[in-house]
């Protein structure tokens, strides 16, 4: 094996490791962002936390006061009959956990070949 090829292989190995690390980091970031978004959505539409210092009254330009709207119902019905818990659903049903995704999350076994700790049934080699 030439030094040039060995160098390319080493570079390739480092790149593969970095790609793997970045993939893991991306997944972690996505999970944190999803959880954060969900928490913020819950906090926003549920009117909590109770310790919120948000004003319950608003002063108008003429000096009178009006009560701030209080959310009374966590669910609303859209015009097409689908339900939402307050987040924008654009007609679809949402449970507030938007941001999570079921696609692209599974990567295991994609190569079709895996490690085995057992003894071989057969040998693949040159003949």
């Amino acid at each position: 094996m030439t030094p040039e090829l060995r160098s390319r292989i080493a570079h390739r190995t480092r790149a593969s490791r970095l790609r793997s690390d970045l993939t893991g980091l991306t997944v972690l970031t996505g999970l944190v962002a999803t959880a954060g978004f969900g928490w913020l959505a819950a906090e926003t539409y549920a009117g909590t936390p109770q310790s919120s210092k948000a004003p319950t009254t608003t002063t108008t330009t003429d000096g009178s006061t009006v009560a701030a709207p209080t959310p009374t119902n966590h669910s609303s019905t859209t015009t097409n009959g689908s339900t939402s818990n307050g987040s924008t659903s654009n007609g679809s049903t949402s449970n507030g956990s938007s941001g999570s995704s079921s696609s692209g999350g599974s990567v295991s076994g994609s190569s079709g070949v895996s490690r085995s700790s057992g003894r071989g049934h057969i040998t693949s080699g040159s003949s």
Binding site: S111, R119, S124, S126
Partner: protein
């Protein structure tokens, strides 16, 4: 229950593994198919259909469905490997001395003759004429076909399909010279395969064992099937079509996984031929592969698992 049998066929070692099926029936199906393949496209039999086709070089000749499949498969492999695995290496193979069953090559060794073998690029797969509606083939007069590489892999794919009929609720694995394919259900934990350089190595030998649930695996290499030619020079059977001579690259063995044995064999053989470009090419193909460099250094590509589990004998 997993049953198995091995024997010699097509000049190499044949293995048949049957899970929860009828082993004798599967063996019978495979035997029948391999006999037909030998009669159809062996280049070492004067009475094979391929030899008769070769004798008709220059003319359009109608061929049987099996030979048509073998030739078109070889051409597809050549196209998909950018010509790295080419069926028109027959003449080059004969010139370097691989002109009979490998087991017979050793019988003519004597004092090296005092002459030089001149090698040249092979004609290339585009030289073969095909007329699909009538299954007609035209081989130019100066071209000789060798379907050995893709032909053996095709035999494995066809054999495993035939054997599967004997295990309708189980699974089968067929191997010819270390190129293998599976069908049906795999044993618990998958079909465990020792990735080695020599297909004669017993599978329970210490080494790198991987598992597949389905699909195929093939290994190509230059460490076995070597011989000393009439000019006294030792050669092997993997030719570089651009030179017509045995490959001299960085890899001595490559094992690849694919859906079919034809695709796996194409990848493993092409990787040997492509040399320094093999890794990038395998990446583009998306083929898991294990490459052993001439100095023994092992490189894994395309999702081939790291060797954390090595069986200790």
């Amino acid at each position: 229950m997993l049953d198995q049998v091995h024997w010699r066929a097509l000049g190499t070692n044949a293995h048949l593994l049957v899970l929860d099926g009828d082993l004798p029936a599967a063996r019978a199906w495979v035997d029948e198919l391999l006999d037909e393949i030998d009669r159809t496209y062996s280049r070492f039999r004067d009475d094979s259909e391929l030899s008769r086709l070769q004798a008709q070089a220059g003319a359009w000749t109608t061929v049987t469905p099996l030979l048509w499949q073998a030739i078109t498969t070889a051409i597809a492999v050549a196209r998909d490997t950018d010509g790295a695995v080419d069926p028109t290496v027959g003449q080059a193979m004969r010139v370097i001395g691989y002109d009979r069953d490998f087991a017979l090559l050793g019988s003519r060794h004597g004092e090296p003759a005092d002459f030089e073998i001149r090698l040249a690029p092979v004609p290339g797969w585009r030289a073969i004429g095909l007329h699909a509606p009538e299954r007609r083939v035209r081989i130019p007069r100066d071209v000789e076909l060798d379907l050995g590489s893709s032909g053996k892999a095709l035999a494995v794919d066809l054999a495993v399909r035939a054997a599967a009929a004997a295990a309708p609720r189980g699974g089968v694995l067929v191997s010819l010279g270390g190129d293998l394919a599976t069908a049906g259900r795999a044993p618990d934990g998958g079909w465990r395969i020792l990735a080695d350089e020599d297909s004669e190595t017993p599978p329970d030998t210490a080494g790198e064992v991987v598992a597949i649930q389905a699909g195929a695996m093939a290994t190509s290499g230059v460490t076995v099937r070597r011989w000393r030619g009439a000019d006294g020079i030792e050669r092997h059977h993997l030719l570089d079509p651009t030179t017509g001579s045995p490959v001299e690259g960085p890899w001595r063995t490559v094992t690849a996984v694919a859906d079919t044995c034809v695709a796996a064999n194409a990848a493993s053989t092409a990787a040997i031929v492509k040399g320094d470009d093999a890794l990038d090419w395998l990446d583009r193909q998306g083929r898991p592969a294990r490459l052993v460099a001439t100095d023994g250094f092992v490189v894994r590509a395309g999702g081939w698992p790291a060797p954390l589990d090595v069986v200790v004998a």
